[in-house]
Symmetry: C2
Subunit: 92 residues, 2 copies
């Protein structure tokens, strides 16, 4: 583990990711970056809110960034599609 770690949000239950964040903060991590894309963005916000409000009130939101990632075409000759991304940086 480094002092700055990332939690990538997929489609598991919210508490899985909350636990991952708490575990990182209880290790050496001073910063945790919660990253998600597409439909998982809502879940990323849920994770951060549960971590801050229920478990680690000292954790602050350092910054929130959004962006767009271009995905490779699904089939040969198809057009590339775009997906939105979010990165929420937390620090304690």
């Amino acid at each position: 583990m480094s002092e700055s770690d990332a939690v990538l949000i997929g489609n598991k239950p919210v508490m899985n990711y909350v636990l991952a964040c708490i575990t990182l903060f209880h290790g050496v991590a001073k910063e945790v970056h919660v990253k998600a894309r597409g439909r998982s963005i809502s879940l990323a916000v849920d994770v951060v809110e549960v971590v801050r409000r229920r478990f680690l009130p000292n954790v602050k939101i350092k910054g929130i960034g959004i962006g767009t990632q271009q995905m490779a075409p699904r089939e040969e000759g198809g057009s590339p599609s775009n997906v939105s991304t979010i990165e929420i940086s937390l620090e304690q």
Copy 2:
């Protein structure tokens, strides 16, 4: 219209909200606040990304805030539930 307007994201197609933002910026609005809660948060990020990248490259993200809103119980005696919220402030 005031100089600061809000677009509330629901579950319509993304381009409906993109058009709402563009219309506000073409009026007197200097700032537009894109707000969403729950599953619509992902859509809010999509809307902002489409507005910035495809239509109004001069528009900047002024700030992004997330929070939690407590909802009234669905039935008498039920427990209140929490929903995550996002507010993305844009300015041109």
